[in-house]
């Protein structure tokens, strides 16, 4: 049974890491989490990104965030990726599996997964 006391240990482990995390050149993964997104399955997509970014060791540079309705509800779940100096990339009709693939190929490998992009679906 987990107790709150474990948080004190997590705090000790993380104290030094937090300082490194702030201020680095950042990639932002933005998941649409309005009614349209949630209904279409955005929750598992978001959590797949959160988990996979951590598993692939990208948590220091990639920030996963949520937003409201982007305005293209018929393409939900929609995920936008913002990277310094690059054009915004929009993935549509996402699933948790596609999210894992995007983390591996795009966020880690540097090449967007063309077949899930908004222009190609």
């Amino acid at each position: 049974m987990k107790t709150l006391a474990e948080l004190a240990a997590i705090r000790e482990q993380m104290k030094d890491k937090v300082a490194i995390r702030t201020g680095s050149g950042e990639v932002r993964v933005v998941v649409g989490m309005a009614t349209c997104g949630i209904t279409a399955g955005a929750r598992p997509v978001l959590n797949a990104f959160v988990e996979e970014v951590a598993n692939q060791g990208l948590a220091d540079t990639v920030k996963v965030t949520q937003t409201g309705c982007i305005g293209i509800c018929q393409y939900e779940p929609v995920v936008e990726i913002y990277e310094d100096g690059k054009e915004k990339v929009t993935y549509v009709k996402m699933t948790a599996d596609k999210a894992k693939e995007v983390v591996a190929k795009h966020l880690k490998g540097g090449a967007p997964v063309a077949e899930y992009l908004i222009g190609n679906i």
């Binding site: 948080l7 997590i10 989490m33 349209c36 949630i38 209904t39 978001l46 959590n47 965030t65 409201g68």
Partner: protein, 183 residues
């Protein structure tokens, strides 16, 4: 939406978007009646806005012309023989502003949906709003007794470790799952 946990995520997101700093989400199950209540100290709504709220063609957003969150919740509640009540005090009129949405469901009704993954919903809320204090409580007459207060966690973690760092989210997931496994 296929399960109640998604409705809860959607409705609680309204509190987040209302700028609330404190949001309480409670689920109580007793004798086949499930009550879901979310209370926030966000900007609130005027009586006029509350009245329009169940009309799907009313929304304050600008990206689309329909707002389906509350109508969806109301439809689900009413088709099980329950209902939705919304009480709100707008910041324009009250110093102690905020909104309370209460939905009741007859959980033994054939048109009710499964509860779904409530832990995932809470994790998603904290991930998106690490600075909001969420109080979550789920009790049932079948032995569920789950309680989580992010303010308590924040007090232990301090201000420099965000609640949505992966390590903390993983802890909270386990913390909730353990409590659900106790029943």
């Amino acid at each position: 939406m296929t399960d109640l946990s998604l409705y809860i995520l959607d409705i609680t997101m309204n509190s987040v978007r209302a700028g609330a700093k404190n949001i309480s989400v409670t689920l109580e199950e007793e004798k086949g009646l499930l009550t879901f209540k979310v209370t926030d100290n966000g900007c609130g709504m005027t009586a006029d806005q509350v009245e329009k709220l169940s009309n799907p063609f009313f929304t304050t957003r600008t990206t689309r012309k329909v707002g389906l969150g509350i109508p969806f919740l109301r439809m689900l509640a009413e088709q099980t023989g329950g209902g939705v009540d919304i009480a709100s005090r707008s910041e324009k009129e009250y110093a102690d502003h905020g909104t309370t949405v209460t939905a009741t469901f007859h959980s033994d009704h054939i048109d009710f949906v499964p509860l779904g993954d409530l832990v995932e919903t809470i994790i998603t809320l904290i991930q998106g709003s690490p600075d909001v204090d969420f109080l979550y409580r789920h009790i049932s007459d079948k032995g569920v007794d789950v309680r989580m207060d992010t303010a308590e966690m924040r007090a232990i973690l301090g201000d420099d470790i965000p609640l949505n760092s992966f390590e903390v989210l993983s802890f909270i997931r386990g913390f909730l799952e353990d409590q659900y496994a106790q029943k």
